[in-house]
Each structure stands twice: as structure tokens, then as C-alpha cells.
Subunit: 211 residues, 2 copies
């Protein structure tokens, strides 16, 4: 059963300590200004195998104070995933740890393992929800690697068939370059709901309660 | 202590069954012709926290029958990682499941989780071994997403500072495009050894025997 109560102000669960084994990857950063930390603080975890309905407060904590919307597709005690607000294609999602981790090497072993498992499930869910069965997984660390938001995140980017589309656009945008449209918020709500449901279907089909 | 015996013909361990929850991602494929299945069959697992010396037979199973060399940097019962033979930069490594999985969605939950954990450790090890602290993680699924070898694999690609190099090359090769050199086999041996040792250092520093 979907959760019926929700605390919009629920803080993220306490993180485990960052192992910090690579001193070269740390940066000073104003956590309060991090958009992904903000999303993690506002959107509480839910059961991925039994997501709340689209209209639930859990998925709309800021209904009374509109802001750039966040369309959450997966939310666990350690991780959160949501639609990219500047997608390269429909179904482009981001997956990140709730805790502020600048680079992949700053994540804990538990976060890294759960991201690996979640990428597999999210990939299947995005393919089901979009009907696009080719996709890229991309994760950028540092400015020289084109990282923009300094809170590590994986991209899952559907790749519609190039030739069938007869379009130059997807060759240009291959691997994260090229035109990125603003997210269409009317399409985004139903799309995010389909992805949440597809995540639940995958987990239920495998008889798993957890990622 | 490093293993002193090794069976070059050791078959890969029996895989768990593929969950196959995404029917759209399966392809007919001649397993015998898959280069990554061949590597997995030839290179047995070793203890990542205590890798064998560079000259060990475990890392040179084909010394008597030379072939395009494989420079293994991580090898577990589920996964194997090695230097890309057409690197985008020095330290470009690939990580894949031993079992033939065409796409990420064909991996088992255990493989996906261990890949997530391994990407974190490999990233730290490659940064230590190369001195390059920015890098991309990329994983392509299907022809429209630029997948070339149809056995799923993650790329870890170091990104030297663009401007410091004064070079157009790394902007052109960003995200997997552009010039790829053949691997320099004289440099590759010592580089792979440094990466194996750095993997072991990371695991030992965290007091972990496993990934």
C-alpha cells in the first residue's frame, strides 16, 4: 500500500561517513547552495516497489510554494533519482546520493553499490516507460570531465534510433553534447509516474522489496 | 600473499541466471566470438586486495601464444577490468561482468551492485595511478547509444586538464568521441601494475577484503 502520511520537512537520513580515500577529489562547496542536496532534503524516501500516487504530497511537497518542479522517479534512504530539467531526450534521468558527494570517489561503498543496482533497474524502467531500448549511462567527475553540478550524479539517457528519426540531432547530442531542451512540465508528470511504476514492476517481478 | 598457482584454463565461475526483465534488450550473439567473454575465460579471479606480481602467470596466461595483450587491473569471480586497447587517454579502463550480458539490464542484481562498488574503487585507483583527478564513467547500451562490443562494459576515462594541455584533443574526445590511439604496450604493463596496486591500497585502507 502506498504511504498515506508524509513529512515534507523530513531530513535525509544520516549518511555514513565518506571514506575520502582520494584527497585529490575534494572541493570546498557551499552545501546549502547545492540543488541536489536541496532535492534530497525535500523529497523523503518511499518504497520503490510501492510508490505513492502522482498526486501524493510525498511527490509534491512544494505545491503551496511553486518552484522549478522536481519529478522524482526513485527515492530510497541513500539515493534519489529525478528527471533532468534540461533533458537530452525524453526520459533523461539523474541518480545521486542524498548526501553531498562531489565525485564518485567520495561516495561510500554502500552508496556506490546501491547506485550500481539502481542504474540497472532505472535503465529497465526508463526503457519501458519511453519505449526506447538503447541508452547511455554517463557520470562526470570534475570540470575537465564536463561535470556541472558538483554533487555526483549518473545520467541515464535514452537514445532513440538515429536513422529512424532521420535527424542530425541525436548524433550531435551523443555522449552528452549538443542541444538540451527545457523539461516540458506537462509531459514530465505522466512520464515520471510511468517510470516510478516501471521501477515497481521490475522490483516486484524479481520478488525484491529493495534495490 | 599473492597466489602462486594458477590454472590458465580455469573456466569462469558459474553465473547466476540473467533476470531478463527487459525483453527489448536481448540480441542473438555468438558468445564464442565475444572478445570480453574470451578475456573472462582466460583470466581467472585473484584477490583484489593482494594482486599477483606483474610477471605472474595469472596475469600472463598466453605468454606461450602471443596475442593482442590484455592488461588486467581487477579480476573477481563476477567481474573483470582491463586497459582499453584503443584508449581515449592513458588509464582508460573497461569493467564488465564475466558472463555475457549484452546490456546493463541483462546483468544480475549482484553483478550490477558489484559494478557500482568497483567503479568507485577503480576510479580512485586510476586517479592515483595516472595523477589525473577528473574522469568520466560511460556505459553505452545498443547501437543507437554507440555501443560497439555487445557485452556490456563501463568505461572509466581520465580527463587531463584541458587548458593546461593547450590542446584541442580532449575537447574533441570528450564523452567518447574523437581520436583513439592504439594502446602502447610498453607503457601499459607498468600502468596496469600501478592500477592493480592502487586498487589493493584502497581496499586495504578501508579494511575490506572484498569490493
Amino acid at each position: 500500500m502506498a504511504p498515506t502520511t508524509y513529512e515534507a520537512s523530513l531530513p535525509p537520513p544520516p549518511g555514513t561517513t565518506s571514506p575520502s580515500f582520494d584527497p585529490g577529489t575534494h572541493h570546498d562547496h557551499d552545501i546549502a547552495s547545492c540543488p541536489f542536496c536541496r532535492i534530497a532534503a525535500i523529497y523523503a524516501p518511499y518504497d520503490p516497489a510501492d510508490p505513492p500516487p502522482a498526486e501524493a504530497e510525498a511527490l509534491n511537497p512544494e505545491a503551496s510554494a511553486p518552484n522549478p518542479s522536481t519529478f522524482v522517479v526513485l527515492s530510497t534512504p541513500l539515493l534519489v533519482a529525478f528527471l533532468d530539467i534540461m533533458p537530452l531526450s525524453s526520459g533523461h534521468v539523474l541518480l545521486c546520493p542524498r548526501e553531498h558527494r562531489p565525485k564518485l570517489t567520495d561516495a561510500t561503498p554502500a552508496e556506490a553499490a546501491e547506485m550500481g543496482g539502481s542504474l540497472r533497474v532505472l535503465s529497465a524502467a526508463v526503457a519501458r516507460a519511453t519505449g526506447v531500448t538503447d541508452w547511455n549511462v554517463v557520470q562526470n567527475n570534475g570540470a575537465a570531465a564536463a561535470q556541472v553540478v558538483p554533487h555526483m550524479h549518473f545520467h541515464v539517457i535514452p537514445r532513440p534510433e538515429l536513422r529512424a528519426k532521420g535527424s542530425e540531432r541525436f548524433t550531435a547530442t551523443m555522449f552528452g553534447r549538443g542541444q538540451r531542451d527545457d523539461l516540458d512540465e506537462e509531459e514530465a508528470g505522466p512520464l515520471a509516474e510511468r517510470i516510478r511504476e516501471a521501477v515497481a514492476e521490475v522490483l516486484r517481478a524479481e520478488g525484491r522489496a529493495k534495490l
